[in-house]
């Protein structure tokens, strides 16, 4: 707790001395009388009782598990626990950094008699992640304002927002030569989904695979073979370095776009039986190994929403490019494909993508285009980004240049058509 003298009344005695001097010199009693005004207010400044630190804070939130974009109401209640009047109580609530106040004000100035309560409310807009409220700042002054106490009071409250993975119908992966069932189609027959051919029954073939129609018609026992669909192992890598934290003119963050797109791609790939994991390419590390199933899907959604590696606020920590890439490669399963989500606001993601590709991990880049406006800087940024797209494509890496104003699904459809050619 900090106490300070405001010095706001300093010099008021000058009035008394001036009145005294002028009144004596001019022998004018009415002038002399005015000296009492200065003395009265100087005395008021000194005699008014100093404030007591006796305020209690309670905070309630009307929804601590909101959806993304919801307006969450916060109500703060102050109580004077002491037995003296608090004549000038100023309160600033500890809104979590990263949350913006969209309605009302998180500040109040009031006077509280002993035992009395005052409350105020405001609304914040929920964004992805865990948001802890910070201590409330309380500034108490005496009635004359000559002395000020400043203190911070804790009221533990938190808001958690875990958006669901948004849907996406499909996401094309690159062709790979590996041995599991999933989405990448090859021409080796085996257990799978798409019809391929029939052959003579061999003892030991699964009963479900016998073509009973033909058996009924001709009496032959044949087995239906499906084109083996290979499961891919995919790691979604999100660029979370400081240069990636840029926004368009409407304030929409590139990293938010990347994380949302990552969730959509995860949704599409998990639905087709591929193993999906997530990782963060940045100073704040995050890793979820590729997996399958409903439990894994939930864990993936939570990792994308809450992990420090995907936080909506830019990092302070220093980024070591060599170290980071090595760490990613160490965790990547040998047969894993990588989908890199980055706005390509600097050159590093292109280097990282090409290195990963060179080490045998097929890379697809999904890049939200957040360069907005026609200033000199924006035009140059656009030129540089276009050049990076071109460099990646020339290296054989698939790039999905996505305008966030359009749905990702539309961009995927257009790109898939282009890639098939």
């Amino acid at each position: 707790m900090k106490t300070r003298a405001t010095n706001r009344w300093r010099g008021v005695t000058a009035l008394s001395f001036a009145a005294g001097a002028l009144g004596i010199v001019t022998s004018q009693p009415a002038v002399l009388l005015l000296a009492v005004v200065g003395v009265a207010y100087a005395a008021y400044a000194r005699l008014a009782p100093p404030p007591e630190p006796t305020a209690r804070v309670e905070r309630t939130v009307d929804d601590d598990r909101p959806d993304r974009g919801d307006a969450v109401g916060v109500t703060v209640e102050l109580t004077n626990d002491g037995d003296r009047l608090l004549p000038d109580l100023r309160v600033v609530d500890g809104v979590p950094p990263g949350l913006a106040v969209v309605d009302g004000s998180p500040r109040l100035a009031t006077a509280l008699r002993p035992g009395k309560r005052a409350s105020f409310s405001y609304e914040v807009e929920a964004i992805r992640g865990t948001h802890d409220f910070e201590p409330t700042q309380i500034i108490a002054r005496g009635v004359s304002g000559a002395v000020e106490h400043e203190d911070w009071v804790r009221a533990e409250t938190a808001i958690r927002c875990v958006p669901r993975l948004e849907p996406l119908d499909s996401f094309p992966l690159r062709k790979q030569t590996v041995q599991h069932t999933g989405q990448v189609t090859t021409d080796v027959g085996g257990g799978g989904v798409e019809f391929h051919a029939t052959r003579r029954y061999r003892p030991g073939d699964p009963i479900q695979r016998i073509d009973w129609h033909r058996a009924a018609k001709t009496g032959e026992l044949t087995t239906v073979e499906f084109r083996e669909e290979r499961a891919a192992t995919v790691v979604l890598l999100v660029d979370s370095r400081e240069p990636a934290y840029v926004a368009d003119l409407a304030g929409r963050s590139a990293v938010e776009n990347c994380v949302t797109a990552g969730g959509q791609v995860a949704s599409a790939l998990l639905a087709t039986g591929d193993r999906v994991g997530v990782a963060s390419l940045g100073p704040r590390w995050s890793w979820l190994a590729p997996g399958l199933g409903r439990v894994h899907r939930t864990r993936l959604a939570e990792e994308l929403a809450l992990a420090a590696g995907f936080a909506p606020t830019p990092p302070d920590e220093q980024f070591f490019p060599g170290l980071a890439l090595r760490r990613v490669r160490k965790h990547l399963p040998g047969d894993a494909q990588v989908v890199l989500f980055s706005p390509l606001s600097d050159a590093y993601p292109t280097i990282a993508a090409r290195r990963l590709e060179a080490h045998g991990h097929l890379v697809t880049v999904v890049s939200p285009d957040v360069v907005d406006g026609e200033t000199d800087g924006a035009q140059i940024a656009r030129l540089e980004r276009d050049d990076r797209l071109r460099t990646l494509r020339r290296a054989g890496i698939r790039v999905l240049d996505w305008d966030p104003d359009r749905p990702l699904a539309a961009a995927v459809t257009d790109a898939t058509r282009r890639w098939r050619q």
Binding site: R8, T13, A14, S105, E150, D376, Q379, I380, D387
Partner: protein
């Protein structure tokens, strides 16, 4: 601190004097006619008034500061750092302005090389030569930005007008160079 004690002292004297004048009325007439004595007291009071005012002027009002808690995450716009660098380097007379301008020139030269070598289908080395010679563009300001000597190409009338506008030659050249590069990349 000293002022307050002085004031208290004055107050004590005033109080005693007042009591004296009340209980010994004879003194009042005596005191009232002593002009010199009065002027001394008045001068003393006037000086104190001035001192008090100066003390006020010197000390600022102190109070707690409060942070901007209402703000959410504010992220930079793509290209904002170059815009800011151009703005600062355009006006500046600071010691660092020359370094800043060189930094911007180097950055834009890299961009120019990629644009030229891609569009005009040239090697980076050839592109650098074009930049140095100023032959990559018809615009004399854009060419001058990268160091080419094309001073002869600007008519005198335009040059006079340029000195009247409040834009430094660096800013003008940068603006032209960027416009030329953007136009070239879209062709």
């Amino acid at each position: 601190m000293r002022g307050r004690r002085l004031f208290t002292g004055v107050g004590v004297v005033a109080g005693l004097a007042g009591l004296a004048l009340v209980f010994v009325p004879g003194l009042a007439t005596g005191v009232g006619t002593e002009r010199a004595f009065l002027f001394v007291v008045a001068a003393f009071a006037a000086v104190q008034a001035v001192l008090d005012l100066r003390a006020r002027g010197r000390s600022a009002v102190e109070q707690a500061t409060t942070p901007d808690v209402e703000m959410g995450v504010t992220l930079p716009i793509a290209g904002a750092d170059l815009d800011e660098a151009l703005r600062v380097a355009g006006t500046g007379v600071s010691r660092y302005t020359q370094e800043e301008r060189e930094r911007i020139r180097t950055h834009l030269a890299e961009v120019a090389v990629t644009v030229l070598s891609r569009r005009a289908d040239q090697t980076p080395a050839e592109a650098e030569e074009l930049l140095a010679g100023g032959t990559w563009t018809d615009d004399p300001y854009a060419a001058a930005f990268f160091g080419a000597d094309v001073s002869g190409d600007v008519p005198v009338g335009v040059r006079i007008r340029n000195t009247l506008v409040r834009e430094s030659s660096f800013s003008r050249q940068a603006r032209h160079a960027i416009d030329e590069l953007v136009a070239r990349s879209e062709r």
